[in-house]
Symmetry: C2
């Protein structure tokens, strides 16, 4: 059985649906590769067009600008991850176990999902770590938010917040703790590899250590007092 999963994206993110054509899928695939390679600042539609073998104008028919493209692939990632979490935490009754699994999924190197061939999820995971915050750290975050561009991120945060409340219905900061888990799963990873003295994992460089840190942080905090 090889079933196709398609993630339904906010239509305001693109001018033409990249999931609906070969060129569109190439744009996603190659933009993930190029942003990973050069970083978002040095990534241009010209380089992307050359990489694909099409023209700049061709890319602009799909995305208004490169920030929209970043919003698209980041939103895609969060939607995909929420799906992964829903799938993998299904049937786990104990909310603490569910929360620990969520932390593990957030902080672990992603393995490529073969049911979606035009996206390299492990590269995308790296991009979300290094470039993800740039999707909202802008002057136009308010407008982008009105367009619902951050809905997948917020939805995931809500899911995690609800698990936290299941663990302890009296915990006062479920949403802030959820966003802290998400951001720190990524920032501690970035720091571990790039600014190791900001972490306690500079020597081992083990994701398992980040998971241990987050588990400790979260579980002690929500423990019913």
């Amino acid at each position: 059985m090889k079933l196709q999963v398609q993630i339904r994206m906010n239509e305001a993110l693109f001018l033409r649906d990249p999931q609906g054509s070969e060129l569109g899928k190439k744009i996603i695939k190659h933009s993930i590769q190029l942003i990973f390679k050069h970083g978002f600042e040095a990534f241009t539609f010209k380089k992307l067009a050359e990489d694909i073998g099409t023209t700049e104008a061709g890319i602009y028919r799909y995305f208004e600008n490169k920030h929209r493209l970043l919003l698209y692939i980041v939103a895609w990632y969060w939607s995909w991850l929420e799906y992964q979490i829903a799938f993998q935490t299904n049937n786990i009754k104990n909310p603490i176990e569910r929360l620990k699994l969520v932390i593990t999924l957030l902080a672990s190197t992603v393995k490529d999902d073969e049911s979606i061939s035009h996206v390299d999820e492990s590269l995308l995971h790296q991009i979300v770590i290094s470039e993800g915050s740039k999707s909202y750290l802008t002057k136009h975050v308010g407008e982008d938010n009105k367009h619902q561009f951050f809905k997948p991120y917020k939805d995931l945060c809500a899911v995690i917040g609800n698990i936290i409340l299941e663990c302890n219905p009296k915990y006062k900061f479920p949403k802030s703790l959820a966003s802290t888990i998400i951001e720190m799963a990524h920032f501690q990873n970035f720091f571990m590899y790039n600014l190791p003295s900001l972490t306690d994992f500079g020597n081992t460089k083990e994701e398992a250590d980040i998971i241990a840190f987050l588990n400790d942080l979260v579980l002690t905090s929500i423990k019913k007092g």
Copy 2:
């Protein structure tokens, strides 16, 4: 008594010391205003030059490019904050009280420091919240780190990590917890105002709530088990 405090900056950050001339101080002052106003992406040396009443070439004599200027003002901010923390936590014996004060200082709107007239610290605080992570989320973070551009941030992190160890010498993640406190003091603030559903403070928009969240998070985590 009006004493002058000068922060000693890493000389590799600039081509000519901006603290050593009137034009240099204007560059700092106006770049803080313009980055605050337009955001870092839309901020250009041309706008800055026009704002000051000098020329683009004039700015380039002080800073190689706008990313170096960002690194400069962010590093300045962390140095200044470490100084504030040292000053204000002086004489507080209890490390838990010291830690709580650090959290408060990190998460509170900064009041302008009148002993340093060319820097508006409250604008700078806002800039560090919205643009600070862009200083290291780049492909050249490794090289920048070799130049010690992040030393003030790391020093502050080490200071906080040491207070954490004073509270509980057996706590296993002092540095990661320190960087988590710093980052979250800022991110929860950004989220509260711009993506409120990622926090529990969207209704009140009170910094005091962020402080309460961080105090709870940190103090429960380091409590000796």
